[in-house]
């Protein structure tokens, strides 16, 4: 048991050192790519917390937008420091999630999927319709970027480290939640809600908790994204982006903490390397999605799980 944890530790450490060194060896365009990739990792991992309760929502990306708009409006129009608006972005998404949970969690399963989509789309239409604060279809531009001790975070390398630190912290928190009793209870709510209820679990409360925490972190991810991009538009948070999150999670696998991360990383790298296919890229995604559902319904994580078992048996037999 101890020995295994050691390998895990070594792997994590190498990964982290690699991530710290990486940007210095990358071209500008790939530095950008890494920043968005790390943000997307936070998006999928926070989404997975939601799926632990068994509910698949289609509002996650809109919650990312809620964080993004909050942070953009506060930093640009109210002059609040970006260091403050990033956590506030998460908070506002969490609060909105809390408010929405009353109507949304009267639905479950397919109805919840559709209901969450409808509510999210209505929010997105509100950004388009209310030009006054939200800027309509073209959104908000010239969103300020953070600044600290003379370091300009407009540059990709400092921003990369900012994102790396914030996302690592968030992942740690999400991991702790999943491995705690709360994670166990969320699982229980998923597999047998009535049984959980009968021993005193307030399923509504736990679904709400998962929704709020997931929104909190995806709201932070949204803020991180737009302070680097410099603009927010309603189209960044459309159902198309949501579908990509679903694809990452499903292709990666959603039974382990790292499954969605594998999905996001592998598919993003693939996507990046197919860049010159331009608008034909979605077809590749479509084919991959079908292949993974038909032949690999447990996701990429299953392959890595198999690899791990294989190493274990190889070790014990030697």
């Amino acid at each position: 048991m101890n020995k295994f944890n050691l390998t895990q530790f070594v792997v994590m450490l190498t990964l982290f050192i690699g991530l710290i060194l990486l940007p210095h060896y990358l071209r500008y365009q790939h530095q950008d790519f890494m920043i968005f990739l790390i943000i997307n990792v936070l998006v999928v991992v926070s989404y997975r917390l939601m799926t632990l309760t068994g509910e698949w929502s289609l509002i996650h990306i809109v919650m990312m937008g809620v964080g993004a708009y909050t942070s953009a409006l506060m930093s640009k129009h109210m002059g609040v420091s970006v260091w403050l608006t990033i956590p506030l972005a998460g908070l506002s998404a969490a609060v909105l999630a809390g408010l929405l949970s009353t109507p949304l969690f009267r639905m479950t399963q397919f109805y919840f999927l559709i209901g969450s989509f409808a509510v999210g789309e209505a929010i997105r239409l509100a950004w388009i319709f209310f030009i006054k604060p939200f800027g309509g279809s073209s959104g908000i531009s010239s969103v300020p970027s953070p600044e600290l001790l003379g370091i300009d975070f407009m540059d990709p390398i400092p921003y990369y480290y900012l994102v790396l630190i914030v996302v690592s912290l968030c992942l740690w928190v999400l991991y702790r939640i999943e491995k705690s009793r709360i994670g166990l209870t969320l699982n229980a709510v998923h597999w047998k809600a009535p049984l959980a209820q009968s021993v005193g679990v307030n399923t509504w409360k736990y679904r709400t908790l998962a929704f709020m925490v997931a929104s909190l972190f995806v709201g932070i991810a949204g803020a991180l994204k737009i302070h680097y991009l410099g603009n927010v538009t309603p189209h960044q948070f459309g159902v198309g982006s949501m579908v990509f999150v679903l694809i990452w999670v499903i292709v990666g696998g959603y039974n382990t903490f790292y499954g969605p991360i594998i999905g996001a990383v592998v598919l993003s790298v693939l996507d990046e390397s197919l860049r010159n296919l331009n608008e034909y890229r979605p077809a590749i995604y479509g084919v991959l999605l079908i292949i993974s559902i038909m032949f690999m319904p447990k996701g990429l994580e299953h392959i890595s799980q198999g690899l791990k078992d294989w190493i274990k048996t190889a070790k014990s037999s030697s």
Binding site: R106, Y111, E121, L125
Partner: protein
């Protein structure tokens, strides 16, 4: 010819691009009467879209997210056959319907049937197909501005000075209603139709009674796709044709099927016309964005208050 087709442009978020086009076209005309007529025409399209979704959901238990793309393929087929190859409209419509049916049959056989016990899997597969069809449309039509097809039936029926209906739209409405009537006749008066309804009610019981589930599913998907293809073919001469046009279709179809009661065909048809009226009027008097928002929120309210929809009656625990 008073009303050329070239003025039909869609706002980024109009659900079908039909009513706003008319709105620009006939600014002087009394908005109220015209909106009623538009609602009817749009309701016919909504019903065609939604009925196919309901059929597939009811009989196969699959939520087909690519349903809008099937409509899109139908419209593209008309563009290729009529606008590019110069074929007549009516034969082009037939070919479009058959083509989309074949795609539907393929989807049932190879994507939905293997995932019958796994509704999420079927749904994901449909998203996969959705991407592929959109790219196929891009390959066929290229990027660039939306495609348009000249109406096959030019001219306008002028009922009085306040009500003018382009013949093409009249034709669409007539064909939509005829298709719905034929479907209704098929489902209620034929043996095959009865067995399909039995499967929708209780798949296991139907299987025990010797109904061939594979065959019913295949037929349901073929009909659903055929109706989608027909809708696309009818829309082609009166709206913009572009790879993402299915987006509006699927959202509307969801609103209509949920409000009508998932699994209820008559509910879907009723909801289609009611929602078309609501959408047309809100668009006419406020804006297309507000109309879509109202539709989405209406759906949420129905989901909360009566998840079985306005016509649903099945008791669920």
């Amino acid at each position: 010819m008073l009303y050329g087709h070239a003025t039909f442009h869609t706002s980024p978020y109009s659900l079908s691009g039909l009513n706003e086009a008319t709105q620009h076209e006939e600014l002087a005309v009394d908005l109220f009467l015209q909106s009623i007529v538009n609602s009817l025409i749009q309701g016919g399209f909504f019903a065609l879209w939604a009925v196919g979704m309901v059929l597939v959901f009811g009989i196969m238990g699959v939520v087909n997210f690519a349903h809008g793309e099937l409509v899109m393929v139908g419209a593209y087929a008309i563009w290729v056959l009529k606008a590019q190859m110069g074929m007549g409209y009516i034969p082009a419509v037939f070919i479009a319907v058959i083509l989309v049916m074949l795609i539907g049959i393929f989807m049932e056989r190879f994507l939905f049937r293997p995932k019958r016990e796994d509704p999420l899997g079927g749904l994901i597969n449909s998203i996969g197909i959705l991407f592929i069809l959109q790219v196929v449309a891009l390959l066929v039509g290229g990027t660039g501005p939306a495609k348009q097809v000249t109406p096959a039936f030019p001219g306008t029926l002028i009922l009085d000075e306040f009500m003018r209906i382009p013949h093409q739209r009249l034709f669409s409405l007539g064909v939509s209603i005829a298709a719905l009537l034929i479907l209704w006749f098929f489902l209620t008066r034929t043996k095959l139709g009865w067995s399909m309804r039995a499967v929708a009610l209780d798949r296991e019981a139907a299987a025990l009674q010797g109904i061939n589930i594979n065959r019913t599913s295949l037929i349901a998907m073929a009909i659903s796709a055929g109706l989608a293809g027909l809708a696309g073919a009818l829309m082609a001469p009166i709206s913009n044709i572009y790879p993402h046009m299915g987006h509006n279709v699927i959202i509307t179809a969801f609103i209509v099927t949920i409000v009508g009661g998932l699994g209820s065909l008559s509910g879907a048809v009723l909801a289609a016309f009611l929602y078309a009226i609501l959408h047309t009027f809100v668009t006419a008097y406020f804006s297309g964005t507000i109309a879509s928002m109202v539709g989405l929120l209406l759906m949420v309210v129905v989901l909360i208050v009566k998840p079985t929809g306005i016509m649903g009656q099945r008791v669920s625990e």
